[in-house]
Symmetry: C2
Subunit: 356 residues, 2 copies
């Protein structure tokens, strides 16, 4: 451990999965936020070990994932596939690190808090396994705004539909969209049955269908009764984060040809009558939220606005025409930042303050 910092030794941070799409953004975020860390140790699969990455303006060599690599680490941030996390997160925790894990492996574990600092920061202190879970990117892209509205109005039901960016499927997702875009530019594709599928062939990457000039109503793996794992995550994680275990949540997750930033339409029903004016006041002042909502001036959020920024962008705020207790919203959040790396970094900062 390094020994700078006013309140004791500055904690040592490990980033596991440093070379991935989220890891890359995480290193940028760690370089730009208040520097509370001593050593930052970068870790990846043996395949990536030895590469050098830049964090806080310095080149740091990537270490191979192993048991010993966690010695002296205070907090370890994991962004790796579920099965890798399931194996290695307990190893890091056993070596004494508090782990902030961005996989789905521990999100449903009642002994692992699922934390969004703007919504349920207090839960981070109760971590009997030494593990804190970071929510799924789709949930994170809307939950800060919903948490603020819930605190005032009391949420009673959610119906949400997603417009999910390809980077939610990692670097391979982005590469696949770019490759397909090159293929469709300058063509008449997208106008006859199956023409896109024939043109794209097996170049679908991590997606089940072509995503350029298309939308694909599927993300994740198949769960019971036709639900996708992504849809189940949005429902189950929203309930946990909001502390509403019985909240009715209906979700359909759809992939769209956007590089980064998930968008969602939200139909939110509350315990009593709501007004758009009060909802706007709440959203305009909520930490981590930007209200961008003036259609008369052409103002509503799109992924092109929100990408690369930290907050959740909210617009199209309307009261349901046929239900004075419901609001309609359109929400955009950068799935790599607040949807992953930023929330992980924020949780790490909460844990660091708690360890002090």
């Amino acid at each position: 451990m390094t020994t700078t910092g006013p309140g004791g030794p500055a904690p040592t941070l490990a980033v596991v999965g440093a070379t991935g799409a989220v890891g890359t953004v995480l290193l940028q975020i760690l370089s730009h936020r208040a520097d509370i860390w001593g050593e930052i140790r970068l870790i990846a699969s043996p395949r990536s070990a030895g590469r050098k990455l830049t964090v806080r303006g310095e080149e740091v060599e990537v270490l191979a994932l192993s048991e010993d690599v966690f010695d002296g680490v205070d907090i370890a941030l994991f962004d790796v596939p579920d099965e890798v996390a399931a194996q290695w997160v307990p190893v890091a925790a056993a070596r004494g690190a508090v782990v902030v894990d961005n996989s789905a492996a521990f999100r449903a574990d009642p002994d692992v808090p699922l934390v969004v600092p703007e919504v349920n920061a207090h839960t981070v202190r109760n971590r009997p396994r030494g593990i804190v879970a970071n929510p799924n990117c789709t949930t994170l892209s809307m939950i800060v705004a919903l948490g603020a509205l819930h605190a005032e109005f009391g949420l009673r039901e959610l119906v949400v539909s997603s417009y999910q960016a390809v980077s939610g499927a990692g670097r391979a997702g982005v590469e696949t969209l770019r490759e397909q875009l090159a293929l469709v530019a300058g063509t008449e594709l997208g106008t006859t049955p199956g023409d896109l599928r024939r043109a794209v062939g097996d170049r679908t990457g991590p997606f089940p269908e072509p995503v350029a000039l298309n939308v694909v109503p599927w993300a994740g793996s198949l769960r019971e009764d036709g639900w996708s794992s992504e849809e189940m995550k949005v429902r189950d994680e929203s309930r946990r984060i909001l502390g509403l275990p019985d909240l009715p949540v209906a979700v359909t997750c759809v992939r769209v040809p956007v590089v980064t930033t998930h968008s969602l339409t939200v139909h939110a029903r509350f315990q009593g009558e709501v007004t758009v004016d009060r909802a706007r006041e709440i959203l305009a002042t909520a930490p981590g939220v930007v209200l961008f909502d003036n259609p008369a001036a052409g103002e509503f959020p799109t992924p092109a606005d929100a990408v690369g920024t930290d907050p959740t962008w909210v617009g199209r705020v309307r009261r349901a025409l046929d239900d004075p207790t419901a609001l309609e919203l359109f929400v955009c959040g950068d799935n790599l930042r607040k949807g992953a790396a930023l929330n992980t970094a924020q949780i790490a900062e909460l844990v660091a303050a708690d360890l002090r």
Copy 2:
């Protein structure tokens, strides 16, 4: 009027707006459906008059819109902007033609039936003004499937979100997307705040924001309380077509970078408990509907499947996890075919049978 056909003279048909995106598809459809028409007269703005278009394998010269051009016309199909329809539809009707109008000008008129043949064919006979309205493309892309479910289960509430294709904004919409796609192919655009807007500049065509690598939560013009005209159409027209004037309908309309075929997520609540098995039976046998719903085999509809086809494609059929009276669906329909030209042609055939 031509005088072939078994039941009397074959009716003369006029197509007003023959050179537009919908008009082009309409001529293809008229060429491939059972030929019940005598003369087919093609009409457009004076700017397009004199051009030759192919219908039923023959070249036909386009006539300029005028009062006299409707003389002898039995049925006139209009696909023109609202303000042109408001002026010229009554002219054609006064000259004795029954008009099937695809603008929004008459859709709310109680003396003008709003017809989807699979759902409310009977209403076509009651047309005191000699005008029948064709619904909006977004409504049409889902309403056949919903009509079938409503007939069995009794609809009680709808929450829908759209993924609307650019051809819903006509040829200019398609040209704009193609131009923007050429601009973004091979670039890193879509990764930093505002980069797309700067790159696209004023080449946004009929859209308020860049649509390539983006989704835009706006379609149509601004109505009261922040609603878009497109959202109001989906609500008001769904109520009229289904004969449910008080149906609660919550809608958010979003443009996506797809050339043709609108998709919608649908959360539909019914009067009593529903089962997925029965819903699937209904959808599998409903006229004008294709059930494509086997996620285990990678089967769910996308625009790339539905484009260029007639039916409404339905998949992702699930019962809401927290409400046994609600179903979730993902629906795709070609916005130029069933969403516009095909439904217009079907209405014209109903009217022709009625005139006989």
